[in-house]
């Protein structure tokens, strides 16, 4: 039983990483209706910017805030420059655009900061949290930040005018335009916010997985899986999905014989698919009815 509890705790700790990433994925999905494959790379690039700022002597929290602002602007710039012209192109062409963006960011980061693994500081320290060997204070801090972020987003979308406008622009663009909402800019805003949330995720994950251009590869896959499991239309679902995927992955690695690190991911994904077969819109997703 103790093994089980420990593994679940460890799962929650890694799950916090996935939850963060899944939140960013869902944010952009809300705004543009596509999964952004370059999301992880954008987060990685933001994290490198914050690292560079700290190398130049900027204190952690200042670097954190500057990176957040820069990422927000960067996300909007990417949408305005690269993806706005593709707004009328077919969906699959947009996906190809994401892959191109992925390739560009990954390769540029490799050239600017090279591929060696770098240490990244944590503001929370890394001593054991409440005497548990499995959860460090950093991981506890990460969970805390994720929950705060989720609450913030909830209030933003439910109780502010601009949040309402963004929801309207995403769900019924034409009617939103008729009541005077600039839907095009709402999409850009969605990109900016997703990029900013991604940068928070990146900065929280970097102390755990270390900083390098490919650090987001695995995390993004789990983040996607978490977002899809929780339901792509629900930020709350994304966070729950993140924790569930973390727990799934750990338990599969512990209890199913013959599962090394290599098979953890396929098994976690297989589990997620079994869930999706029963609930095709994810655990907390809205069921979409199509008009013929």
């Amino acid at each position: 039983m103790e093994l089980f509890t420990n593994q679940v705790l460890a799962g929650i700790a890694t799950g916090a990483i996935y939850a963060c990433m899944a939140l960013a994925v869902v944010m952009i999905y809300q705004a543009i209706d596509h999964l952004n494959f370059a999301q992880g790379e954008m987060a990685m690039f933001s994290t490198f910017i914050s690292w560079q700022l700290m190398q130049w002597g900027v204190p952690y929290w200042a670097a954190f805030v500057i990176t957040l602002v820069l990422s927000f602007i960067g996300g909007i710039a990417i949408e305005r420059i690269l993806f706005k012209p593709l707004a009328k192109a077919p969906v699959l062409t947009n996906v190809a655009g994401f892959i191109a963006l992925f390739s560009i960011i990954n390769s540029s980061a490799g050239l600017i900061w090279d591929f060696t693994i770098k240490q990244y500081p944590t503001p929370f320290g890394s001593s054991p949290f409440l005497g548990s060997q499995l959860v460090s204070t950093h991981q506890a801090g990460m969970i805390g930040v994720t929950v705060l972020l989720l609450l913030g987003l909830y209030f933003f979308f439910q109780y502010t005018r601009i949040g309402l406008a963004m929801r309207a622009a995403a769900s019924v663009p034409e009617s939103a335009r008729l009541v005077g909402i600039n839907t095009s800019w709402m999409i850009a805003l969605g990109w900016g916010m997703a990029s900013a949330i991604g940068s928070i995720a990146g900065m929280l994950i970097a102390p755990v997985v270390f900083l390098e251009p490919n650090m987001m590869g695995g995390v993004l896959i789990y983040g996607f899986a978490a977002a899809v499991l929780g339901g792509l239309t629900s930020p709350f679902g994304a966070v729950v999905g993140g924790f569930l995927v973390g727990i799934f992955e750990n338990l599969a690695g512990t209890y199913i014989p013959g599962v090394g690190n290599e098979l953890k991911l396929p098994i976690a994904l297989a589990l997620i698919i079994s869930v999706l077969v029963v609930k095709p819109a994810g655990l907390f997703g809205r069921h979409i009815v199509k008009r013929v």
């Binding site: 699959l92 996607f224 899809v228 930020p235």
Partner: protein, 339 residues
């Protein structure tokens, strides 16, 4: 964000409707392309012939994805898994059981058809990104499954398997590369003709009806479950043959050649070639073979960025891929004829 149901109206389908006549080339153009494919190797060096073989079998794999996505509207990131199964089946049969290569390919195809058909069953309930995730899981699992210990006597584990290249039969005076090219060409052409006819048949119409509107299709009496899984099966079978051809041409199979990267390349090939336009598959294959090399040539350190930029330029200029170029060309030719 409530749990209320959303109603989505028409007009934002994932895959655009391509009429079946627009899926193929005209007779004249087809003959010219065929003539080029037959004649060029006679005047080319062995390495170029090898690259053309590569172009053919990757084109075949892109074609398979095109049938699935452009034909039936289903999305797959798991093509690399079927490709890997096809390659491994061919390699294992050739090397461990000494079965001639031309008999291995149909077995690979039929086996992959079966796997694809079965995989299509759970995938039935999923669509769009959810289906993408399911197929993605298959793609990530495949290299690990190929490395499994108890399969090692056949697959050679992480090391992979070396495959012997077949000689030209009947005492033909032809290099191995050239023989393999013509062999591949015949297989690919046969499958291309089969695919074109499939899409023009009753089954093809059913695929397209499902792609354009699943609910309407089922109301018209199309057995949606059957045709969706059938599309998966056919696509997987063709991909398996392509994988088998690649194993013979490259003379080597290893688990790490069949990762998600391959599936993404095939996807890019489909988009660049034009979703739903079968002849575009070969253009897409050319893109994924040659553009990374060009990017490498432009800048070693930034090859990924150069590749991304080229891809961006291509999708800006022609968001519908090579199909758009072909349509423009046709209109231009039509205008010339009228003058």
């Amino acid at each position: 964000m409530s749990a209320a149901e959303d109603v989505v109206t028409e007009g934002n389908e994932a895959v655009e409707a391509v009429p079946k006549r627009a899926m193929t080339l005209g007779l004249g153009t087809s003959l010219v392309v065929l003539l080029l494919l037959v004649a060029v190797p006679l005047f080319a060096k062995n390495f170029i012939i090898f690259q053309m073989t590569q172009l053919l079998y990757l084109g075949l794999a892109v074609l398979a994805l095109n049938i699935l996505t452009g034909g039936s509207g289903q999305f797959s990131l798991g093509q690399s898994a079927f490709y890997g199964i096809g390659a491994y089946v061919t390699a294992v049969m050739m090397e461990q059981f000494n079965i001639p290569y031309f008999l291995c390919l149909p077995v690979a195809g039929v086996l992959c058809f079966g796997v694809g058909f079965l995989f299509g069953q759970p995938a039935l309930r999923l669509s769009g990104v959810y289906l993408a995730l399911a197929t993605f899981a298959l793609a990530t699992a495949m290299p690990q499954l190929l490395k499994l210990n108890f399969l090692e006597p056949w697959t050679g584990g992480v090391q992979g398997l070396v495959v012997t290249k077949p000689d030209a039969p009947f005492g033909l005076k032809m290099s191995q590369d050239m023989w393999l090219y013509y062999f591949t060409l015949v297989v690919v052409l046969a499958i291309y003709v089969f695919s074109v006819n499939l899409l023009r048949s009753r089954s093809g119409r059913a695929f397209m009806a499902i792609r354009d509107n699943e609910i309407a299709a089922s109301a018209m009496g199309v057995n949606v479950a059957l045709y969706k899984t059938l599309a998966f099966g056919v696509s997987a079978g063709i991909t398996g043959v392509a994988g088998g051809l690649s194993a013979i041409a490259v003379q080597f199979v290893a688990p790490d050649s069949f990762t998600i990267t391959l599936a993404i390349q095939l996807f890019l090939g489909m988009v660049v070639g034009g979703v739903g336009w079968l002849p575009g598959s070969i253009v897409g294959a050319a893109f994924i073979i040659f553009v990374p090399n060009i990017a490498e040539g432009v800048s070693k350190g930034l090859s990924g960025a150069v590749f991304g930029v080229i891809l961006f330029i291509v999708i800006y200029l022609v968001p519908h891929g090579a199909r758009q170029v072909a349509i423009l060309g046709q209109q231009f030719a039509g205008r010339l004829r009228r003058n």
